[in-house]
Assembly symmetry: C2
Homo-oligomer: 163 residues x 2
């Protein structure tokens, strides 16, 4: 997870979770996030508190490659904007752990209205690397291009059918 101010193209693939892996080598981050924008808006503005880090993220685009800018916020800045996310918030535990080939997984276990949803993401340095990736056995169906599993859709539409 990137908690510094930065900007980059985010290349990642997202999967459901077939079974939980061993998490002995993983670290856990408690995440609360909310959206300043609506699902239909041209950009996504997200406020996230991850442990003690507070981040404003601007995302544009959909699917495997999205443009993303992260701005670290002071607590007072965060607190001023947070009320505007009411009705578009979620909470999850993120487990970050190693995968073969120097990659790492980010396994999200949702709480509240979105439980028992579990989703795992892997970020790549290039689209070529992303295409070559062979998911481990504990990964489930790929949902990278399934808008229903985007967090900004989940917060308003809830769990997809069948979850």
């Amino acid at each position: 997870m990137n908690t510094k101010s930065s900007d980059f193209l985010e290349i990642e693939r997202k999967f459901l979770v077939e079974e939980l892996p061993v998490l002995a080598d993983a670290i856990r981050v408690s995440i609360s996030q909310g959206y300043l924008t609506e699902t239909e808006d041209s950009v996504e503005l997200r406020l996230r508190r991850a442990d003690d880090a507070r981040i404003l993220t601007l995302k544009s685009g959909w699917g495997m490659t999205r443009k993303e800018r992260n701005v670290a916020l002071e607590p007072a800045q965060f607190d001023l904007l947070w009320p505007e996310t009411e009705g578009r918030r979620l909470q999850k535990d993120r487990w970050i752990g190693p995968l073969p080939g120097g990659l790492r997984f980010e396994l999200d276990i949702y709480h509240g209205a979105l439980a028992p949803l579990r989703v795992v993401e892997v970020e790549f340095a290039s689209e070529q690397e992303a295409r070559r990736f062979v998911p481990p056995a504990w990964f489930g169906a790929e949902v990278t291009d399934d808008a229903r599993y985007g967090n900004r859709v989940l917060v308003t539409a809830g769990l997809p059918e069948g979850e």
Copy 2:
């Protein structure tokens, strides 16, 4: 102009300018601003540099009463987000001066593609005070509810017909 972190309901009326007033008692602020959101989005996210102050403003609603939250940004935070406003920027000089009854005007003189547009705004403490306001002779037609004179429309649609 409010350059501190704050939130409030913004109650204001906006007019065209019939003729420029005497500006001896007014102060001038040089403003560059750009939008992170598109005109159709549910909220407006604006980055503004006003002299040395840098502000992120979140607005919702239209017309006389809009909800507004202002967050003062550090230069590094501002610089990270500013590139995302490309194609949705404007520049203007704002003259802030006194009006009878303890009110003040904010006269905006647009530069670049939006010249020679001039617009004047007055902010009020209540909707009652706003309704009671009698514009001075140098004010022109009221455009409070005319979406064409909203800054986020001006930056993409340009000058309204006949300006």
